[in-house]
């Protein structure tokens, strides 16, 4: 009965709602309560931990960063020795993780795209081979694959003294792959600079070509020109700076190969395992993305006379990418996080160095916090970049 009374005088009724029943105030109260509980819980955990650590007289804090690490690390991108600090050792670990994640992501995207397109091939054999690969790789746990590749390196390949030499200057042994690389020469520095200059030039060329096409309708042979600039400039630089061609060939000195570039079995196995595993998932994402563009679009493009390459570049890919990028991002994150399985096969990634640090200093809480923060940063950076790219792709409305 009250309802009917209220409805007759709506204006007053709104003000009469009791404070406790007001949905706005209620939601604010609940949110404050929730935040309060989270903060309290956090405070409880923190203070409890600190008291417990004190009671057990376990050292706390990040003071160990400055202490001498006094353990060696198998491979490092920067000079490192046991006399350096824990801080530097951990940085070496971060660089190693970045190295494997970056190279891994690039290779995975290339291989995955290739497999995804193969999966859609009209050729029965190609499509089935890709399907079998994708199914098998997705179904075997990554850790097992890593063990497999690692034992492949050290069990199947011969010892250093009997190393295989499939090509001149390339040695394969159970210590990994050793390549010949060009001997250091100032020319290479100039080549790198001219490569960057070339990339910038191409960027402006593209802008100009697009503008010209919009104005006049003339199509500029952009692809060939870009390649010519990006590859040609460094080549010319190389010729002008005296065309150095001395190679740094690896040589067996004592126990191991010295000189050249060496890919350790640990790095090789980790990279191979991660790329082959993740590429199977990326292939499915690429396939789904391409299939998400309706067939009518291809037919329409053909009807207005576009060539197959143009159809792929101008019609299908821009639309498929919007479907592909978000799940692709999460696969990239997976690859980065899975790289922490390196501990199992002895690659000195960040987790491996951090857990040695934890064990030598006994400061597990700081160590684990550090691991979490570093991986959080990796993930946030990757998704930040991919979100930016995604937005850029999504904005191209037609």
């Amino acid at each position: 009965m009250r309802n009917s009374n209220n409805s007759s005088s709506t204006g007053n009724a709104e003000q009469k709602i009791p404070l406790l029943n007001d949905p706005k105030i209620r939601s604010i109260v609940y949110q404050i309560l929730t935040i309060g509980m989270v903060v309290l819980l956090g405070y409880y955990l923190f203070s409890n931990t600190v008291t417990n650590l004190k009671r057990q007289s376990i050292a706390t804090g990040f003071g160990f960063f400055e202490k001498e690490a006094s353990f060696e690390i198998g491979e490092s991108l920067i000079p490192y020795s046991a006399a350096d600090t824990y801080g530097k050792a951990l940085f070496v670990g971060i660089l190693n993780t970045v190295k494997v994640a970056f190279i891994g992501i690039v290779l995975t995207v290339i291989l995955g795209t290739f497999l995804g397109i193969a999966r859609l091939s009209k050729n029965w054999l190609v499509s089935k081979l890709a399907a079998v690969y994708i199914e098998v790789m997705q179904d075997i746990p990554i850790l097992l694959q890593l063990f497999f590749w690692y034992s492949f390196f050290y069990d199947i390949l011969p010892p250093t003294r009997e190393a295989l030499e499939p090509m001149k200057g390339v040695f394969m042994s159970n210590r990994g792959l050793a390549f010949a690389i060009p001997e250091a020469h100032p020319a290479y520095k100039y080549m790198a600079i001219s490569f960057i200059v070339g990339c910038i030039a191409v960027y402006f060329l593209r802008k100009w070509a697009k503008k010209r096409q919009e104005k006049t309708g003339q199509i500029f042979p952009l692809f060939l020109c870009s390649i010519a600039i990006i590859l040609g400039l460094p080549l010319v630089t190389w010729l002008f700076s005296g065309a150095p061609h001395r190679m740094n060939v690896p040589e067996l000195v004592g126990f191991n190969f010295q000189g050249g570039l060496n890919i350790s079995p640990e790095f090789g196995a980790l990279l191979l395992g991660l790329v082959l595993y993740t590429a199977a998932f990326v292939a499915e994402i690429v396939r789904a993305g391409i299939q998400a563009v309706s067939k009518g679009q291809t037919e329409a493009a053909m009807a207005i006379g576009l060539k197959p390459g143009q159809i792929l570049n101008l019609v299908i890919l821009p639309q498929a990418l919007r479907v592909i990028i978000p799940p692709l991002t999460s696969q990239m994150l997976n690859l980065t996080k899975n790289s922490s399985l390196a501990v199992a096969i002895g690659f000195p990634d960040f987790v491996s160095v951090a857990s040695t640090t934890i064990n030598q200093t006994g400061q597990a809480i700081e160590g684990i916090t550090m691991i979490m923060v570093v991986y959080l940063c990796f993930s946030l950076l990757t998704s930040f970049f991919m979100n930016w790219y995604n937005k850029k792709m999504a904005l191209v409305e037609r």
Partner: protein
Amino acid sequence: MKLFKLCLVVGIVFAISGVAFAGQTFDSVKAKGFVQVGVNEGLFGFGKPDEKGVWRGLDVDTARAIAVAVFGDASKVKFIPLTAVQRFTALQAGEIDVLCRNATQTLGRDTELGLDFAQVNYYDGQGFLVPKKLKIKRAKELDGATICVLPGTTTELNVADYFRTNNMKMKPVVIESNVELNKAFFAGRCDCMTSDASQLASVRAVAPNPDDYMILPDIISKEPLAPAVRHGDNQWKDIVNYSVLAMIEAEDLGITSKNIDEMLKSKNPLIMRFLGVTSGNGKALGLSENWAYNIIKQVGNYAEVFERNVGKNTPLKLERGLNALWKDGGIMYSPPFK
């Protein structure tokens, strides 16, 4: 996954609200009805399950001695296999009551890690295991070698120190699991493996062909391996300490698991006190008076435990060396039981 387990342990440290510390391990062990012991996940002669799944080894028998001291029953023990990296965190977090996992006592571990070490149950030193075909005779010839080493060990630091002081270069291959590390070493991934000499003997024993490998004569460090407990729990440390010492003292007094029942009739006051015929020791520790009798009866004296697990008739073929009694030229020595 290993990392997950480590995270879990850290989580426990976060979560426990001050239970089971300072003087409380003994009470909580009695309430549980068994001792939880951290052991090696697979080190032949020290801690490893045999083909029937029964745990065997010097450290395992030390753990059994502690269980016997508390409960009078060697089976009242639960073994938690731990890697070198996990072991101290597991102890700090209270996941285990005592760590019997060939851990070297060091100043840093005794202080900053919040641990206390009991009586050493094996005096060891770090050595190098190499394949004979490399024709290396001394450690000094290892310049430039790739070396297999377990992470989170004192050996990882010693080997770096040794190479630094001798101006030599090395490349470590660091794999967390014993089993995987051994596989890599036998396959020739490394030129040599470094660890405590006893551990190398155990690795050699499980090699496809043990005669292909040799331990170099150079010993580069002191490695007193001892059971560890959490810092500040004095009663529990005493119990662990004297459980190990009881086995040493029994050897000193000539008591073995075979002759112990005759020894009960002995009129030697030292033996009478040790076996609890004259009471006092048990009460002082908070244990039953026949605790030492039970240890020797069920586990054996130190000589028996040593010979059974790592001695000359085992695949490890280790000599007593430093681990002989003080009167036989070693440094195993127990304070008087009175």
